[in-house]
Subunit: 169 residues, 2 copies
DNA sequence: GGCGATTTAGTTGTGCACAACTTAATTGTG
DNA sequence: CACAATTAAGTTGTGCACAACTAAATCGCC
């Protein structure tokens, strides 16, 4: 059976407007709450994400940070420079591989973690959701991201055969 | 009872990393899929959202567009100028209120709608989700956005007393 | 060893999001 | 009517996201 045609394109246009827009809106609402919560720390939300990664892993090459956060050097390089200018991270060329640059928290950056400990609870309170719900939603979003990535890379068939592995729902 | 302390701040930091990051990642994955789907039309995703609104409502003041999309003039003014430069919308001062500027699709902008009809289906296919699931997720995200907005405006008590109404959950 | 391909950061340019501000028109109140 | 307050767009500046590109180091293969 090829796609049950219960929905017309016209209606789809409106639905579409709502689903993806909801995601967009939620992200921006989150950013707004984070902006407020992080103002005292002098961090933006993406900078906070980078610091979370560095607090957890210690010293990391830019490449690895990018893998954790799905960001490339075009985004991370200037961001890390700003974090360095703020005194929160140190950057240096790796000795064993001169292509690589590693970043790690400075003492000030490490101290910052203490002040950041209260942030997640504030955010959690702002969502009004219980842990269960948060987990549930997170799982859904991760599935969604995986599906979208698969579809996107299928649209750009650069290497691997796609062998409809998107079915894993 | 004041917040059951089953979770330590430390653990919360990690959870937090995951929930909000998931949202962030999903949004960007969506944007990426849209970028591909909209490339032929010469639209970015936010431009597409604006066109959706204009296709649905016809002529609208910038203010109204912003209300539909939660965007302010700082974002919309340059965006609408680009859409105007692309020949998809017309802008003009309102006659009855000279403060207001209205935007509406040009003939080319209206034609564009036909070419955009296939987009939502492509996106829906990329998500790999059924309509039910989409609706469910959308509802969750809308709840989340509402909660976040409420918490945010409570943090900036500009008018209404806050009277701990955030407890609803 | 030499040399092309790959990998890693970084740069440049475009566009979005938003805070803070400016300008101009309208509204409300005395 | 006059004038302060409000409202609507637009401008400016900062930062993020990403495509496309450059520069330098490393790897692989002959």
């Amino acid at each position: 059976m090829d796609t049950p045609r219960t929905v017309r394109d016209e209606d789809f246009l409106r639905l579409d407007h709502q689903i993806c827009f909801s995601l967009h809106a939620a992200t921006r609402a989150f950013n707004s709450v984070y902006r407020t919560a992080l103002k005292d720390l002098g961090l933006t939300y993406p900078q906070y994400l980078v610091m979370l990664v560095l607090w957890e892993h210690g010293e990391l090459p830019v490449k690895r940070i990018g893998e954790h956060l799905r960001l490339d050097s075009g985004t991370l390089s200037p961001l890390l420079k700003r974090l360095e200018a703020a005194g929160y991270v140190e950057r240096r060329r790796s000795a064993e591989d001169e292509r690589s640059v590693t970043a790690r928290p400075t003492p000030a950056g490490t101290e910052l973690r203490e002040r950041a400990l209260g942030v997640p609870r504030r955010i959690a309170a702002a969502t009004g959701m219980r842990l269960e719900e948060v987990r549930e939603l997170r799982a859904r979003l991760n599935e969604l991201t995986t599906a979208l990535d698969a579809a996107e890379s299928a649209a750009y068939p650069d290497g691997c055969a796609t062998e409809d592995d998107t079915a894993g729902g």
